[in-house]
Amino acid sequence: MIELSNLTKSFNSGQPNQFTAVDNVTLAINPQQITVLKGPSGSGKTSLLSMIGCMARPTSGRIFLRGVAAALPFRQDGADAVEITSLPERFLNEIRRSTFGFIFQQFNLVKGISVLENVMLPAYPTGEGRAEFRARAVSLLEQFSIARLASQRVELLSGGELQRVAIARALINNPSIIIADEPTAHLDSKLSHEFMEIVGRLKGEGKSVLIASHDPIVFDSPLIDTLVEMRDGAIVASRSCR
């Protein structure tokens, strides 16, 4: 469960080119559901996602994470919610690493290293034994039926394969929330449908999924639970699709 209250993010504050990307957003995102943020580019979807995903800190407002606190080595006054906006970067990271998995528009795979290494990359700094996360990565690749590509370099993959590698990478640290930013922007319709299928499977495994998209295949999909429409940094509509 993620709660946002009065969240604002502005850039270049105090300067003439000040620009507010997210403006006073209050929202609750339910666990184990698929939530889609819909809106044209520049509507603040990405900024909102990066704040929820502990990548950026809001200028003002607060974000509470519920249900993840127990897994963390520190807690604020015994509550089960963590207020993440005031945490220093190293703590945000710890939360991010254990709680969120990310899928990016460009897939953002590291060139020059193998598929398997790309999938394992988020686990490197956790200090987990290599053998353990390697086994997990291999089984993820098998699950997405790309195990045969394990030792190949990512430059040589097709779009659909790239996408599946990116999803496998997002899952390596066993996160409870998956965040995807315009995941279908570079995919054709067939692959986009396939992506939504995978997302549905993830939901079935008990993961929460948060997608920002302006692709009808995504926001018209029967799988989604909540649709949030954004424009100019603010929420214009939010409805449940169930």
């Binding site: 850039f11 270049n12 504050s13 604020q76 005031s86 190293r90």
Partner: protein, 331 residues
């Protein structure tokens, strides 16, 4: 001025350390002045990033200080044939009045940098930057000392000219010589031995007490610091005699020479390691009750106490072993 590679290396390191210190200090001042954890503004984010830079720089400074401390002593030792009368580092350092101050301030800087890193470590474990002010005030204290160290080192090497007649360790650390080092060497053996062993005992007891009960941290910290000073005086007064097996040779540097199996490096390393951890324990004491650190600091402190106890125990064991098995017996 002697243009030796080692001297060049030392001056280079001093220059780098002072430069890095000033750079870190500048951002330390900015952090002290503009820190506002509640704000999510870009300025604050920038400052938070700077803290990474400052702590990286400080850990480099610490390792450079440690390495250059030993290099400095070794170089002084290496240079002694250039000076009439000098027989080891003691004589070389006495060539002009900047030698010993440079050495002392090097030791002090090393200790302070170590303490700073301990505080930094504790601070980084708390989620609300609990020690940020303390940390950067300590940094502001340290930076002038780093610069002073560089200046003293330059002054020392600039004033070093071959063929100066200097005193050797024999006359510098002997009963006849007046002055501070002579006084230290003149301290009577028996009371010093009592002071040394009781200091070690008190530190050990208070350390164990603190380790088990988590109380009396200040006592432990102060006693470990005092014991450090007593131990240094004891090295001058009686410990080295057992290593040299000569009743009158009080030099603290000859221990570092090959003839004595480089034992000095080990002895001083245990002593320095022990006292850094000991002071660190005390410095963390006032913050045990800070909200975000309430569980963290005691754990760190217990580890620090353990380090001090192990280091001091090793030092005492080596000393005691040498005292029992040395060919020398002091009356």
């Amino acid at each position: 001025m002697i243009l030796q590679p080692a001297v060049l290396a030392l001056l280079l390191i001093a220059l780098l350390v002072a430069g890095m210190g000033i750079y870190a200090g500048y951002y330390g001042m900015r952090i002290l002045g503009q820190w506002d954890p509640a704000s999510g503004s870009e300025g604050q984010l920038e400052l938070e990033r700077r803290t990474y830079l400052v702590s990286t720089i400080m850990s480099y400074i610490l390792s450079f200080e440690l390495m250059s401390l030993f290099l400095f002593i070794y170089t002084a030792d290496e240079l002694h044939p250039l000076f009439t009368g000098a027989m080891c580092a003691a004589g070389t350092l006495a060539v002009n009045s900047f030698g010993y101050p440079a050495l002392i301030i090097k030791v002090v800087n090393f200790l302070l940098a170590g303490v700073w890193l301990i505080v930094n470590y504790a601070d980084n474990r708390g989620y609300d930057y609990p020690l940020i002010k303390v940390k950067y005030e300590l940094l502001n204290l340290l930076v002038p000392l780093l610069v002073l160290e560089g200046v003293l080192l330059f002054a020392y090497f600039a004033g070093v000219k071959p063929d100066i007649i200097t005193s050797c360790c024999g006359s510098l650390f002997s009963h006849e010589s007046s002055g501070f080092s002579g006084d230290l060497a003149m301290l009577p053996h028996l009371p010093m031995q009592i002071a040394f062993f009781s200091g070690m005992a008190v530190t050990g007891a208070s350390g164990l007490f603190f380790y088990i009960r988590g109380r009396a941290g200040y006592l432990f910290s102060i006693s470990s610091t005092v014991t450090f000073l007593v131990a240094v005086a004891s090295v001058l007064s009686f410990i080295c005699l057992y290593f040299y097996e000569l009743p009158t040779h009080h030099c603290p540097f000859c221990l570092l020479q090959k003839e004595y199996g480089y034992i000095g490096y080990f002895l001083y390393a245990t002593l320095f390691g022990g006292v850094v951890a000991g002071i660190g324990t005390g410095v963390l004491m006032p913050f045990r009750k800070v909200g975000s650190l309430i569980r963290i600091i005691p754990a760190i402190q217990r580890r620090l106490v353990l380090v001090t106890l192990c280091c001091y125990l090793l030092f005492t064991l080596i000393t005691g072993w040498k005292m029992v098995f040395s060919a020398l017996t002091l009356g």
